[in-house]
């Protein structure tokens, strides 16, 4: 019996000491970022420079982050939402406007990435990583020229094609191919996209997420829809791979950094954002992650590396001219979800 009492006391002590951790004097910055989307040493350096503690947590999708914040009892200071999610969160008053005076390093951010329709004037967010959506293909297996999304409908490559398991991206490709907008909110256009995707289904090896990286490096498929950042990595591992942004146009995506209304420490959060915009820090992050930096000096420096010297990492202005960013389609997103579920369930 004595033993049990002792154990109970020990537990109580442990729990109280752990709860007590929350009340120390050091300032805390709660950062909520995508998994493996930063160089960890950058966080430690920020702690030293500002005498604070960075509490770092990861998520795997925008929606996951959104619901965590929406549930009401999260207290994150800095988040990294993507384009359409920023627009949605601005509409729902979930982001705090940024005080640009506290972010002098904003001057390092490439101006062509600023003032995009999802956040006019960058009142709420600053670009962190960005890129395009395109086709990664195996140059040994695919002999035809790859310059159009049409190649994903070519019967010659039946069961050698990987599509992205993401409603906006995959339905978006089918919309673009028919000349419609990537941000279409027209049901007829969506239905046509659906027919196209069902027609393609017998040719598709699988609808995948991050597995696409390993499968392409391992030569399991010949053609895949990928984000440019993943393409950079795949090409560095497998020389036979090449990346193309089709001529019909594509999506230019942004992962920006923003401060949610749940923030308890806006001043420190802005300091952190400014810190991320610094040249040396941005360079460290882009070298570790392999995604395209929004910092123009870091991008230029990184492009000198062999693995980063390509259009996947550093797209030309020509390519960007035919790309558009996602917009939040509001309630219409359920129609996209319906279409995508139907495509995946189709025989």
């Amino acid at each position: 019996m004595k033993k049990t009492v002792w154990i109970l006391c020990a537990i109580l002590l442990l729990v109280t000491s752990l709860v007590g951790c929350g009340q120390s004097d050091v300032k805390k910055l709660y950062v909520y970022n995508w998994g493996t989307y930063i160089d960890n040493s950058v966080l430690r350096d920020f702690e030293k420079e500002n005498n604070c503690k960075v509490v770092y947590e990861n998520y795997a999708s925008n929606e996951e982050m959104y619901y965590k914040l929406k549930s009401g009892n999260a207290n994150y200071d800095v988040i990294f939402p993507s384009d359409y999610m920023i627009e949605k969160m601005i509409k729902e008053d979930m982001l705090l406007p940024l005080d640009k005076q506290n972010i002098p390093n904003l001057k390092n951010i490439d101006p062509k990435l600023l003032d995009i329709p999802f956040d006019p004037g960058n009142q709420y967010s600053i670009p962190y990583f960005w890129g395009t959506l395109g086709i990664l293909y195996n140059t040994e297996k695919v002999t035809k020229p790859v310059d159009s999304w049409n190649i994903l409908w070519d019967k010659e490559y039946a069961k050698k094609i990987l599509m992205y398991d993401s409603q906006r991206d995959s339905v978006g490709i089918a919309l673009i191919l028919q000349g419609y907008s990537l941000n279409s909110t027209n049901q007829d256009e969506l239905n046509k996209a659906y027919e196209l995707l069902v027609e393609q289904k017998p040719l598709v090896l699988a609808y995948v997420n991050d597995q696409v990286i390993d499968m392409m490096i391992g030569n399991e498929a010949d053609l895949a829809v990928v984000y440019s950042g993943d393409a950079v990595y795949c090409m560095s591992e497998n020389e036979k791979l090449a990346y193309v942004v089709p001529k019909e146009g594509s999506n230019q995506w942004f992962d920006n950094v923003a401060i949610p209304t749940t923030s308890q420490n806006k001043e420190l959060a802005e300091k952190f954002i400014d810190y991320l915009c610094r040249d040396d820090i941005a360079l460290k992050n882009t070298m570790e992650v392999g995604y395209t930096s929004a910092n123009k000096n870091a991008l230029e420096e990184a492009s000198k590396e062999d693995d980063y010297n390509n259009i996947a990492y550093n797209p030309t202005d020509d390519i960007l001219a035919r790309c558009v960013a996602f917009k939040d389609v509001g309630e219409f997103i359920t129609n996209y979800a319906d279409i995508w579920t139907k495509v995946k369930a189709a025989q």
């Binding site: 019996m1 049990t4 154990i7 109970l8 537990i11 442990l14 729990v15 752990l18 709860v19 929350g22 709660y30 995508w34 998994g35 493996t36 989307y37 960890n40 430690r44 509490v55 770092y56 947590e57 990861n58 998520y59 795997a60 999708s61 965590k68 549930s71 009401g72 009892n73 999260a74 207290n75 997420n209 991050d210 990286i213 390993d214 499968m215 392409m216 490096i217 391992g218 030569n219 399991e220 950042g229 993943d230 990595y233 591992e237 497998n238 992650v289």
Partner: protein, 262 residues
């Protein structure tokens, strides 16, 4: 012929069970970050693992929560099963059904309702909320493994102990707990494995930088899972195997000596 078939079947089963684990272990030594190709032998991922503060904190929270949840839910579960056992027949049935509901309830429902509950009482999500959630979903399993042992117990033992002058606390300690010990141990093991394994409920109930291994691994989904996780899994599997090996040897020795004495 029959024997050969039986052996083939057995080895096939073992192969299916262990092949994925073996592949995982082999790839923890892969110099290439990708699972798509073999880039030569390296210990780099192990080195990185020991330097990665994020993984270490995730491991710390996983083990910490598992241990605390196991201890608390085992005590709470054992006490409640003794309580349920002492109820009348009808009340016992009702209580058992109440106990079954969380077991049958899908994880995601438990997780979401926990999250709403914590928001409702405006408790900030973090270590405490995750621990409470883990204790909650472990207790029914402890009860389910302790109660049958209580039922197997000879009730006369308690009366005999009373006749011999044992005080109530002594009866619980020396008679009841001794009788149901195997059930308690099974329950504790159940609780521990459930807690270490859990993703869905933890996902909805955590926050403030507290994340366990399963959440951490899941968050890597956007960019592919780092081989550091393979290295960590390899170490965890080896530790568990070693522990099992030691426990088995010990219990073998014990049965041998007791066997001799008889």
């Amino acid at each position: 012929m029959k024997k050969v078939l039986r052996n083939v079947y057995l080895y096939l089963m073992l192969l299916f069970l262990y092949a994925p684990i073996l592949v995982l272990m082999v790839y923890s030594f892969n110099a290439s970050k990708s699972r798509g190709q073999w880039g030569g032998f390296t210990l780099e991922w192990y080195r990185r693992l020991f330097m990665d503060a994020n993984i270490q904190s995730a491991l710390y929270y996983t083990v910490m929560i598992a241990i605390l949840a196991t201890i608390i839910s085992t005590i709470a579960g054992t006490v409640s099963s003794i309580g349920i056992f002492l109820y009348g027949n009808k009340a016992q049935k009702v209580m058992l059904n109440v106990n079954y509901i969380p077991v049958i309830n899908p994880d995601i429902v438990t997780g979401v309702s926990m999250m709403i509950l914590f928001a409702f009482v405006s408790m900030r999500q973090g270590f405490a909320t995750m621990l409470i959630a883990h204790i909650t979903f472990c207790i029914p399993y402890v009860i389910l493994s302790v109660l049958p042992k209580l039922r197997q117990m000879d009730v006369n033992l308690i009366e005999a102990a009373m006749d011999l002058g044992a005080r109530p606390m002594q009866i619980i300690n020396k008679v009841v707990l001794a009788e149901i010990r195997p059930g308690i141990i099974t329950g504790a093991l159940f609780a521990f494995t459930l807690s270490i394994d859990d993703f869905v409920i933890s996902f909805f109930t955590t926050g403030s930088g507290v994340s366990n291994l399963s959440i951490y691994v899941y968050s890597m989904a956007k960019r592919g899972i780092s081989p550091e996780i393979n290295a960590l899994s390899t170490l965890m599997i080896l530790t568990v195997t070693l522990l099992l090996f030691i426990i088995n040897r010990r219990s073998n020795k014990k049965t041998k000596t007791t066997g001799e004495r008889i």
